[in-house]
């Protein structure tokens, strides 16, 4: 127990927490936007891989870091467009299309990698985003360095989280997205195009997922490895539910999850860590997520039209 407390009061734990949470925030927001519009995007895992690869290879090829971020965003949006056209316009199963896109995005990233770099023994490295402490704010004890001594992409994640929350709650666009996820017929009856809103949401959401991937190769690390996304996308799907489809809660969930992760990494070094199999630590975040779902499930409001295709002109 004292081990846990010692970890919790160490500044480095909190810094790690925010660092681990950052890619999750991007991708969770992305998934949340898709689901609020009524589309479950199981392409998330693959789109993160594609974003991680595209951003990194662009920088490796000579573009600037921010241009690389742009490339990742566009790559994600392209896969989002494919997902949107298939699931929204044609109303195909969101499960199949999502998993298919995960496979497609992952495999085509790997394939391109191999074509571009046929004979390397370790992937080339780029100069990743450096840590840029924000003056004054980063001097706040404990939380300062954690929140404000990070790379610019983490700050971008904060900004996007706030923007997403505000747009969804306050703007006409956010209302349209929410309504598309609640009752597409209502959207159409008010003269808006359900297809345009849903496809747009899936594209933007997928773009954010790709940024989550790009964070891994351009901020958390500096090169691209196969399988480096390592299930983070699936976690984000759980985080959206955990956050009851609310951006604020979902981001809080990302921090919580990252907190468990940062904690378990450190617990492995403690007396507890030598007695308990390391797999139990790795399980911790997943099991706690399930428990959290049980505790809060009753209040969660699922978008009513989630996973329901809407085809214009079809009898309902």
């Amino acid at each position: 127990m004292s081990d846990v407390i010692a970890i919790l009061i160490s500044a480095s734990f909190w810094v790690a927490l925010v660092r681990i949470a950052s890619p999750l925030i991007f991708a969770t927001l992305g998934e949340l936007i898709c689901e609020r519009a009524g589309v479950l995007n199981l392409g998330i895992e693959g789109i993160m891989v594609a974003g991680a690869f595209a951003g990194w290879i662009a920088v490796y090829a000579g573009l600037g870091l921010w241009a690389g971020v742009g490339v990742a965003l566009l790559t994600g949006m392209a896969f989002g467009a494919l997902h949107g056209v298939l699931t929204v316009l044609f109303g195909l199963s969101q499960h199949v299309v999502g998993l298919g896109i995960t496979l497609l995005a992952t495999a085509s990233s790997y394939y391109t990698y191999r074509l571009v770099l046929p004979n390397v023994s370790s992937p080339p490295r780029i100069t990743a985003f450096p840590v840029v402490p924000i003056p004054i704010l980063s001097d706040i004890p404990l939380l300062g360095p954690a929140l404000f001594a990070q790379t610019p992409l983490t700050y971008l994640a904060y900004a996007l989280a706030i923007a997403t929350a505000l747009i969804l709650a306050r703007s006409p666009l956010g209302l349209a997205v929410r309504a598309a996820g609640e009752n597409p017929a209502a959207v159409e009856a008010q003269g808006l195009s359900v297809a345009a809103i849903r496809i747009g949401a899936v594209m933007v959401g997928s773009g954010l997922m790709a940024l989550g991937g790009a964070f891994l190769t351009m901020s958390a690390f500096n090169s691209f490895f196969f399988e480096m996304v390592n299930g983070r996308g699936w976690i984000c799907i759980a985080l959206v539910v955990f956050g009851a489809w609310k951006p604020g809660k979902a981001v809080a969930g990302a921090f919580l999850f990252a907190g468990f992760d940062a904690l378990q990494i450190r617990l492995q070094q403690t007396g507890l860590g030598t007695m308990v199999p390391y797999q139990l630590f790795l399980m911790l975040p997943y099991v706690l997520s399930i428990l959290a779902l049980v505790v809060m499930s009753r209040r969660a409001e699922v978008p009513a039209a989630l996973m329901q295709p809407y085809r214009k002109g079809e009898r309902r």
Binding site: R170, S171, P172, A176, N183, A185, A186, A189, Q190, A304
Partner: protein, 507 residues
């Protein structure tokens, strides 16, 4: 460019095909400004389809539409809204989890505005509410509203967008008479302000009350048109159906034993719950339950259908006290239901007619044995129901979602009557049905009574209850009035009971 002689709406040669089904066949008509036109037709005649074309949900294969003299681009609800069309859909197009104001504002502002102007919108809503006598709490979630309140929100949606032509597709199907009356008052105000109204309803007395002119559709074609002055419900019914419609004739019947008895029953979980309810269901008798919707009808139906159990009091079936009570047990006991919501509770839309026909019967010996379905028997049964109940549709193998509401109701009726139930629970049995179908359903209920079944008729339509019932109870806030034999109370007297007067210890 527009003056008072330009028709508000001109429809020319609209045709629409669904597969082989010609839903609209070269329909042409005009509507003047400030005019209320009623659109009549049997279930499946093509009324909703036509309105959906007007509003841009569907695109017609042929024909053109002009609004105030300006051609309306097809297939774009946004264009229809901009041209001044407002539509109250047959199935509400509201997002339950959003607030009233959100539903209203959706799509009314540029999507690229950073922040919605909610304050102005709320003010505008208040003003509209005043002008048209429609009150609505802007912050209430639509899902928490009653059906009548939702209806108001739908109308407010159209008015909020400055609709000049209001399309109302069966707005009263789910309203209580009081709510319907309030709606008509609103419509009159709207017309006084110069709006035109297209009004679809199967209730001919309503049509007589609000419309200036009537258009009649049959099998997708416009078959008649008449000013309201100089016509009457019987003539309208004949125009719709193409033949004289004879209202149900209530013959005398012989009553038998008490089949089900509720004494001092209370329930828990529904709102409002039943309180201290005494009720006898007697063989050969139609027992009517009159009352404003939301006064415990749902709890009563759930109790009798086996979905709820009494928490106090006693229920007995043929003098045997109830022990184990569930939908299964109710079905076994010979109770058959016409549920209030046929789409949600009565049928499985994606199942075939065959599969729906045996939905409640599949466990009975004829249709399955030791867990094995007897599909040939089920198919035979479905064909028999289709033939006997005149269910028009693509056949027993087709999905039920393709049926019109009336035909769906006939299927439900057929499947329950064919098993010769001893008790029939008919919850809003004619909701949304055309006059022909209404007569058909009511006649079948009377037949069942004649054969010795006990019928419990729950309806918000007082006229219907009074016409069919041998005894009437009024339900109010979960309590049941004493039984009033046929003819013993006037409409006005029952109305007082419905408002809560007369109950012994009123809360």
């Amino acid at each position: 460019m527009e003056d008072n002689t330009t028709p508000a709406l001109r429809v020319e040669g609209i045709s629409k095909r669904f597969g082989a089904n010609l839903a609209n066949d070269a329909i042409s008509f005009e509507i003047a400004q400030g005019e209320v036109v009623a659109l009549l037709g049997e279930n499946g005649a093509g009324k909703t389809t036509l309105m959906n074309i007007l509003f841009g949900h569907y695109t017609a294969e042929e024909g053109r539409i002009e609004v105030f003299g300006v051609p309306l681009p097809p297939g774009r609800p946004a264009a229809a809204l901009a041209a001044g069309l407002g539509m109250v859909h047959q199935h509400f197009t509201l997002a339950d989890n959003l607030s009233v104001l959100d539903n209203l504002m959706l799509g009314t502002e540029s999507l690229w505005r950073p922040v919605s102007a909610r304050r102005q919108a709320a003010a505008r809503l208040r003003k509209l509410a005043q002008d048209f006598g429609l009150s609505a709490d802007p912050d209430a979630k639509v899902g928490t509203l009653s059906v009548g309140e939702r209806q108001r929100v739908e109308i407010l949606k159209a008015l909020y967008r400055d609709a000049r032509i209001l399309i109302l597709d069966e707005p009263t199907a789910v309203l209580t008479p009081q709510e319907a009356e309030a709606l008509f008052a609103t419509l009159r105000r709207a017309v006084a302000l110069g709006l035109s109204v297209i009004f679809i309803s199967h209730k001919l007395h309503e049509v007589m009350a609000v419309a200036d002119r009537v258009l009649v559709l049959r099998h997708g074609r416009l078959v008649g048109e008449t000013p309201i002055a100089g016509t009457d419900p019987a003539r309208l019914a004949a125009m719709m159906v193409g033949a004289e419609v004879v209202p149900p004739l209530v013959a005398a019947s012989t009553e038998g034993q008490v089949l089900m008895r509720l004494s001092g029953v209370a329930t828990q979980g529904q709102r409002p719950d039943l309180r201290d309810v005494d009720l006898d269901l007697v063989a050969g008798r139609i027992t009517g339950i009159a009352g404003v919707s939301g006064n415990g009808q749902a709890a009563l139906a759930a109790l009798i259908g086996g979905l709820a159990r009494p928490v106090a009091g006693e229920v007995s079936l043929q003098d045997q006290p109830l022990t184990d009570w569930s939908p299964r047990a109710a079905i076994k006991a010979g109770i058959a239901r016409i549920p209030a919501d046929r789409h949600r509770e009565g049928t499985v839309a994606d199942f075939s007619l065959t599969e729906n026909a045996v939905l409640e019967l599949y466990r009975s010996p004829g249709f399955s044995r030791r867990g094995w379905m007897n599909w040939p028997a089920a198919r035979r049964f479905a064909r028999q129901v289709i033939a006997r109940y005149d269910i028009r549709g693509p056949g027993e193998g087709a999905a039920v979602r393709l049926l019109s509401g009336g035909n769906m109701q006939k299927l439900i009726l057929g499947r329950l009557l064919e098993r010769d139930p001893c008790i029939i629970l008919a919850d809003q049995p004619v909701r949304g049905l055309d006059i022909g179908a209404v007569t058909f359903v009511q006649n079948r209920l009377l037949d069942a009574r004649g054969r010795g079944a006990a019928v419990l008729l729950i309806s918000e339509d007082l006229e219907e209850v009074m016409a069919l019932s041998d005894v009437i109870h009024v339900i109010c806030d979960g309590r049941l009035s004493p039984a009033f034999p046929r003819g013993s109370k006037t409409v006005a007297e029952l109305g007082l009971w419905m408002a809560g007067q007369g109950f012994s210890h009123a809360a």
